[in-house]
């Protein structure tokens, strides 16, 4: 009955699906997914981590997920549905679930919530995110080395700090190799529309970009770059299948270590509300193998990765120069403060574009 109720709820949420196995006395862990588990990107990586949980804890836990849950008020019903189904630890895996998660968390103080990429917390609601800009910095180094035209193409989703800090980290790195490097930025204003992402990649290549970077979720841009004989970086997942001679590397969201740690804490009764913002050093994400580049470029990338992990290299090391040529106030000692990166709403020097809304 519970299963059919859940299935009904999922059906109401536009074609969701549900997986649940019934048993008593197990810790029930629930997941809310933004896309379909087969999106090959964002949601797929969360699903891989859920599968890793099942493998790690076996029959000590029982997991349930709801996929294709729209962000916004609709999500509240989906989260509450998971609570009513007896889930004690619930991962809500997209920024737009922030307020709905908080609302449900306040209503059910005995249930623990984990919200990805947000900033609102509660006694029973943690947040977790990754310092993807570290990966973008490494990509910037590679891109500047590999570009022959000196023009990089960047497909953005929405002009939010996470994406803007990625563009800035890329350009700071790229300028350290080639001070005259240019970047062309196209905002798709969507996270997922393969056709539009492909059109954006075509436009960038037609305008002279020869290395394509993306902050949208489908492998469409990789595929177009491969068709046109250019180079590209993947996003979220391994995308080398769509460009065996095209992918330089990809930022891989590896949520499994974090999810395993949090479920373990819940099982041990030591779970408490935390704010986790991890980088390459804490394995919140990883870089896909460095491919389709000469050994010297590979070495630069590997060295940068090692330096970032060792804490010797920070992409936003002061002084950071803004678009207007003025130095950005350095609030974090030697580097920009975390808060400045999490709220980044400016372009660095050398980007000839205007940040939407500025």
């Amino acid at each position: 009955m519970r299963k059919s109720l859940l299935a009904l709820a999922a059906g109401l949420l536009l074609a969701g699906s549900v997986s649940a196995a019934s048993a008593a006395d197990k810790l029930k862990v629930g997941f809310i997914y933004l896309g379909p588990i087969g999106d090959l990107g964002w949601t797929y990586q969360h699903e891989l981590a859920r599968q890793a949980l099942v493998k790690e804890f076996g029959d000590k836990i029982e997991t349930t997920y709801l996929e294709n849950v729209p962000e916004g008020p609709d999500a509240e019903r989906a989260i509450e549905q998971l609570v009513r189904a007896g889930n004690k630890l619930i991962f809500t895996t997209s920024f737009g679930y922030m307020d709905p998660t908080l609302k449900v968390a306040k209503k059910y103080p005995n249930v623990h919530f984990e919200h990805a990429t947000g900033y609102k917390r509660n006694a029973n609601m943690s947040t977790y995110s990754s310092k993807w800009y570290q990966g973008r910095y490494i990509q910037g180094l590679i891109a500047a080395k590999m570009s022959k035209s000196g023009v990089l193409g960047y497909i953005g989703s929405f002009p939010i700090p996470e994406v803007v800090s990625g563009i800035n980290a890329t350009m700071i790195a790229a300028q350290s190799i080639n001070p005259n490097i240019k970047v062309k930025i196209i905002w798709a204003n969507t996270w997922f529309d393969p056709g539009k992402e492909a059109d954006a990649a075509k436009a960038l290549i037609d305008q002279g970009a020869d290395v394509i970077m993306q902050h949208t979720d489908s492998p469409a841009a990789m595929q177009i770059a491969s068709e046109r004989g250019k180079l590209a970086f993947g996003q979220d997942s391994e995308m080398i299948k769509f460009g065996p001679k095209t992918q330089l590397t990809s930022i891989l969201d590896t949520w499994a270590p974090y999810y395993i740690a949090r479920v373990k804490a819940e099982l041990d009764g030591t779970w408490k509300s935390e704010d986790t913002w991890g980088g390459l050093d804490s394995h919140m994400f990883a870089m896909a193998p460095y491919t389709n580049m000469p050994d010297d470029v590979k070495k630069i990338a590997e060295d940068a990765q090692a330096a970032i992990i060792a804490g010797k290299l920070h992409p936003f090391k002061c002084p950071v120069i803004g678009q207007d040529g003025k130095e950005i106030e350095c609030k974090g000692g030697a580097n920009l403060a975390d808060g400045q990166i999490l709220g980044m709403n400016f372009y660095v020097k050398g980007i000839d574009d205007k940040l939407p809304g500025k």
């Binding site: 379909p36 062309k184 196209i186 798709a188 393969p194 960038l204 305008q207 970009a209 068709e227």
Partner: protein, 305 residues
């Protein structure tokens, strides 16, 4: 000049699925049936189209699978909305929801696979002519077919007796019935044609546009096709203008962003919708006023025996 050619090529690729799906829906609506399930039929067409092509290695069989899948989906709609006279709006919406779920199920085994996209025409000499060569003589079969399709539909609707009867069903099903025409049979055929077109339009995405399948890859194109039919005031000629205009503004706004025009990208993304609506509304105002919608659109017909 190369850039202009590249832009036109991208525009054709972006407009073709909209044109094919909207052509089918135009015929459906002209018969008096409002099928809001275009998005659902398209995405199932995309999943089956990719599956067919991936399993057999033939783009043609892929396209055919898409057409058959779209037609089968539309038959579900016909059974409910025509056979049982269920509310057409609700049935169409349900068809979209069903289609999105079903396509994920069908496509689950194909996610992550890639195809060689549909071949493009190449006529030595002609295709190599600068600027217009590739535009006119270097497209894939879908593009040529979509143009033949809309011309065929125009000819059928306005130049054949069968087309006149179909329009009569859409304008006044009681009179058409009184004259002895099988209204429900005609409407069923029109709905099936709409489904076949939506299925083909869906199949175009993984077979030619972005040669892989991902759940949800139609990303709202079915809804745009629906809107185009309304704003084209149910006329094939305006539909062509609307579809290409929408595609053109979509591509141009991406290029404008790349050039750094400095207009907020959020506005640029809304521009294709704005431009298409404005132009098509102006076009329909320029001619005779009054509503051009099929008079019986969306109303159920239950024949008295």
């Amino acid at each position: 000049m190369e850039l202009v050619e590249a832009i036109i090529l991208s525009v054709l690729a972006a407009s073709t699925p909209l044109l094919i799906a909207a052509t089918g829906e135009l015929v459906t609506e002209r018969s008096g049936v409002l099928n809001l399930g275009v998005e659902g039929m398209m995405i199932v067409g995309a999943a089956c189209g990719f599956g067919g092509a991936w399993l057999t290695g033939s783009i043609f069989i892929g396209a055919l699978s898409g057409i058959i899948a779209g037609t089968l989906m539309s038959l579900i709609f016909a059974l409910m909305a025509l056979g049982l006279a269920v509310n057409q709006v609700a049935t169409g919406l349900a068809l979209t929801i069903l289609g999105i779920g079903l396509s994920g199920l069908i496509g689950a085994g194909f996610v992550g696979e890639r195809l060689t996209p549909a071949a493009q025409l190449h006529i030595p000499g002609l295709t190599d002519v600068p600027l217009i060569g590739r535009v006119l003589f270097g497209q894939d079969a879908f593009v040529y077919f979509s143009i033949a399709l809309i011309i065929g539909v125009w000819w059928f609707l306005y130049r054949t007796r069968a087309g006149l009867i179909l329009r009569a069903c859409g304008d006044n099903h009681v009179s058409a019935h009184a004259l002895g025409y099988p209204v429900l049979r005609i409407r069923t055929l029109a709905v099936m044609f709409g489904g076949a077109c939506a299925g083909l339009a869906g199949a175009y995405l993984p077979l030619a546009y972005t040669p892989f399948f991902i759940p949800g890859m139609t990303a709202g194109r079915g809804w745009i096709a629906l809107a185009l039919v309304v704003f084209a005031s149910w006329r094939p000629g305006r539909l062509v203008i609307g579809a290409y205009l929408f595609g053109a503004v979509t591509i141009l706004q991406l290029h404008a962003q790349g050039w750094g025009v400095g207009i907020p990208s959020q506005f640029m993304s809304a521009l294709p919708y704005l431009a298409t609506v404005v132009v098509l509304v102006l076009l329909s105002r320029a001619r005779t006023g009054g509503s051009t919608a099929p008079a019986a659109l969306g109303t159920a017909f239950v024949p008295d025996r």
